[in-house]
């Protein structure tokens, strides 16, 4: 047979010997995944603290004085950039991508382990460069996370001296790190699947991560191009983006640059970025829902097609972020249309998740709660997206709190719900121990209700016309009747931030004192739960690689004793090969 899985070949595995090669300079995908995750979550916590601080300023402008206007813009900028790039992208792809791809595909490791290791260390470097901007004179950049020129590199913006340069440099480094990781994820999925693991038998988590990685590989270059060109504008004085203008009363040295060009580049990256975060979330939530509902995912094929379709469409919707930049109406019409079209595969996915739950044997475990919570938050966030996708509705709502409410629901809260679902779901495999169910449920309810208390009122504020990005609101910008509501958002935001303590206590305490989980506590079918050791040892599969005989969702199959059949269990004797048993089709 022509098929020889790469992982089946007898090549020498890089066996770690010492503590350092085992846990620090490790080439093991599982260790790298944990390194990625810890780093990403750490900066994520920082970004969350920043958001609480500027929310205190916004909610109680007269009470707190430790946030100056400059700080306010710096915190907002760093909060946005860290959350989108350094937390979500890194945790979904660097963390879960690394952990799940080889285990779910039945490989011993990534195809290029050394490059994988390098990817993490370069990522860490990018984080350090970013954090360094807090400690330089002038502080980090306050240009807003979109870094629009000219103001990003014009005098008067906080951090214009060093902060913006470190930010752009850090982004460039991050993109290098991501490319190294991404090459690994794509090649591993294509080349290192075990015997029998066809593309259409892959769990949806792998599909989501796979397509998201392709999006990232093709979209991040746009950000790289923009970062390089803006760095040149700032350092050498070229005029790629910088127009001729008066800045602080002085004529600047540039002429002829096009700020709109930057916006196109940024959003050509920025919109696929939404799906770089969303597609892995879609995939992972599908697996969590199917496992804890003890039902096969509804419409597996359709789910795969939807992931691929969303991935393709995500490249032709970018200008819907730019309706207010003065574009040709036909251009706007085109992008409004593609934007609304992308709602079709997305809605399909939502229906399929709900139909997966329908008449399932639902177990309301903590990961399941978060997964169901995701369906709610994602639907709400997605529906407001339909408002903003229409040019005429977007124009008055643009730059109001409505937009903040929308994108935080759809790409802030929703992916984070999935991340928590995924962390709780795979925690027993990663650590070998169970977490505390009670703490987990407290964490879930506080987070879900708290985030709704934060973001639902924002939609209302936005409809009132309250603008975003303002340091303080006099009665000119916010009606008096909305002040209490605005303050309540801050209270809720701080509450949500504090309730994450449940999560950290749970995760850290259970690592040591949790019950032993066993190899497959949820009764899941996918390969990562079938490893000989828990947590899986180096090389994952012991002496022999698994062979896959079925798709990833054989839950509650009629006629089977257990309510799940793992992927590596052969069909029972007496059953005609290639035919399912007892199911008419």
């Amino acid at each position: 047979m022509a098929y020889v899985a790469i992982a089946d070949r007898d090549h020498h595995l890089h066996d770690p010997q010492t503590f350092i090669t085992k846990y620090i300079w490790s080439q093991d995908h599982k260790v790298i995944a944990v390194q990625y995750s810890i780093t990403a979550i750490s900066v994520g916590v920082l970004a969350m603290v920043l958001s609480s601080m500027f929310r205190l300023q916004l909610g109680f402008p007269d009470t707190f004085s430790f946030v100056t206007p400059e700080n306010y813009y710096q915190y907002v900028t760093m909060h946005g950039m860290i959350m989108v790039i350094y937390l979500l992208t890194a945790l979904f792809l660097g963390g879960f991508g690394n952990y799940l791809i080889p285990l779910m595909c039945g490989a011993r490791d990534m195809v290029f382990p050394y490059m994988n290791m390098l990817s993490y260390w370069v990522y860490l470097l990018s984080v350090l460069v970013l954090l360094a901007s807090f400690f330089i004179p002038g502080g980090p950049t306050g240009a807003g996370w979109t870094l629009y020129p000219p103001q990003a590199i014009a005098d008067g913006t906080p951090g214009v001296n060093g902060g913006i340069m470190l930010m752009l440099l850090s982004l460039a480094i991050f993109i290098v790190a991501f490319t190294m990781g991404g090459l690994n994820y794509v090649t591993t999925v294509l080349q290192a699947r075990c015997r029998g693991m066809t593309l259409m038998r892959m769990p949806l988590s792998v599909w989501g991560i796979f397509v998201a990685t392709i999006l990232g590989l093709l979209a991040f270059p746009a950000l790289l191009v923009a970062a390089i060109m803006m760095l040149l504008d700032r350092i050498v004085g070229t005029s790629f983006f910088m127009p001729e203008m008066l800045s602080m009363g002085d004529q600047n040295a540039h002429n002829g640059g096009s700020p709109i060009l930057f916006q196109h580049l940024f959003w050509f990256f920025g919109h696929p970025e939404v799906y770089i975060v969303a597609l892995p979330a879609f995939g992972m939530v599908s697996d969590v829902l199917a496992t804890h509902a003890r039902k096969n995912i509804f419409g597996y094929r359709m789910m795969v097609w939807a992931i691929v379709a969303i991935g393709g469409l995500s490249f032709i919707v970018w200008a819907h972020h730019m309706y207010v930049s003065g574009m040709n109406p036909y251009f706007g019409f085109f992008f409004a249309t593609t934007t609304l079209i992308i709602a079709v595969p997305t809605a399909l996915k939502v229906y399929n998740w709900v139909l997966t739950l329908w008449r399932g044997d639902i177990r309301l475990t903590v990961p399941m709660l978060f997964a169901i919570g995701f369906i709610f938050t994602f639907t709400h966030g997605g529906l407001t997206g339909l408002f903003l996708g229409n040019v005429t509705v977007d124009l008055p709502l643009s730059d109001t709190y409505f937009v903040i409410g929308h994108f935080h629901m759809v790409m802030g809260v929703s992916p984070v719900m999935v991340l928590f679902a995924a962390i709780y779901h795979w925690y027993p495999k990663i650590t070998g121990r169970m977490f505390s169910d009670t703490l987990g449920k407290w964490h879930f309810w506080c987070t879900l209700l708290g985030t709704y208390a934060v973001y639902l009122p924002m939609h209302y504020l936005g409809l009132l016309g309250v603008p975003r990005r303002y340091y303080a609101y006099g009665s000119d910008f916010m009606p008096d009747s909305a002040y209490t509501l605005n303050s309540s958002i801050t209270v809720a935001a701080v509450f949500v931030a504090l309730s994450q303590i449940f999560f950290f206590i749970n995760v850290i305490w259970s690592m040591r004192y949790g019950e032993k989980a066993g190899s497959n506590p949820w009764g899941a079918t996918t390969l990562e739960w079938q490893t000989p050791d828990t947590p899986p040892k180096h090389g994952n599969w012991g002496a022999k690689l698994p062979t896959v005989y079925r798709w990833a969702y054989d839950y509650s199959v009629p006629g089977e004793k257990q309510d799940f059949v793992p992927q590596n269990v052969p069909p029972r004797a007496g059953i005609v090969a290639g035919r399912d048993h007892g199911v008419h089709h």
Binding site: A2, L217, V225
Partner: protein
């Protein structure tokens, strides 16, 4: 520009559809038992990795090219004279590519001596190309065309510089491959020869790609 872009996107989508559709039609919930999937799996992983990387590089430079074409229609665009040296440099890069192709053919027939000669020649031509590019930059700065003089100049330096950086990265891999080629071969070890063959093959793919990219850039930079 947008029409062109959309058209390419559409074509790409259709191709992707055809490539995947036959596979994505499988009813995986019905069929049980082992199914083998050939195709990609038969290809060495490094080769797939390289092609994925080339897709990334293509994306990077396509964006630059689109921006360049957009920007060069502005009225303040002052094209710079193309140094004649660039033609000579182009010839050098072509030679480098040819030498690598010869090395690749030699590797197919396991002629170690021919691999060594052609591989080394390819590197020398490439280094000469890079030196020539730096020289061309010097000529331009001497005649007063600096990085920030006009967007046309900025783009020229940026694009040639990025292309050169990609070649430098290639030279790093080339150096490793060449060192392997000059090492005394172990007649027992079959995987060593196969490894060398693969490295030479991948180098040649990368070089041909960068040559093609250079031709596109050269045409674009000199026609605006």
């Amino acid at each position: 520009m947008n029409v062109t872009f959309l058209f390419t996107a559409l074509i790409g989508a259709i191709l992707l559809w055809f490539a995947l559709a036959w596979k994505l039609r499988t009813k995986s919930w019905i069929v049980k038992g082992v199914i083998s999937e050939d195709g990609f799996s038969a290809m060495p992983a490094h080769r797939v990795g390289l092609w994925v990387f080339l897709a990334v590089v293509t994306s990077l430079f396509s964006l630059f090219i689109i921006i360049y074409n957009e920007r060069s229609t502005f009225p303040d665009w002052r094209p710079l004279p193309d140094p004649q040296l660039l033609w000579f440099n182009t010839a050098l890069l072509v030679l480098g590519s040819i030498a690598l192709q010869l090395a690749r053919d030699a590797a197919k027939r396991d002629q170690l001596a021919a691999i060594r000669v052609n591989l080394t020649a390819a590197g020398v031509f490439t280094i000469a190309f890079l030196a020539g590019q730096v020289l061309a930059w010097r000529q331009l700065t001497d005649s007063g065309y600096f990085l920030s003089t006009n967007p046309a100049d900025s783009f020229f330096y940026l694009l040639t510089g990025l292309h050169g950086l990609h070649l430098l990265g290639g030279l790093f891999v080339w150096a490793k491959t060449t060192m392997n080629a000059w090492r005394k071969p172990d007649p027992e070890d079959m995987s060593e020869a196969a490894g060398l063959r693969l490295s030479v093959q991948l180098c040649s793919v990368y070089w041909h790609y960068l040559l093609l990219l250079w031709l596109v850039l050269f045409y674009m930079l000199s026609s605006s």
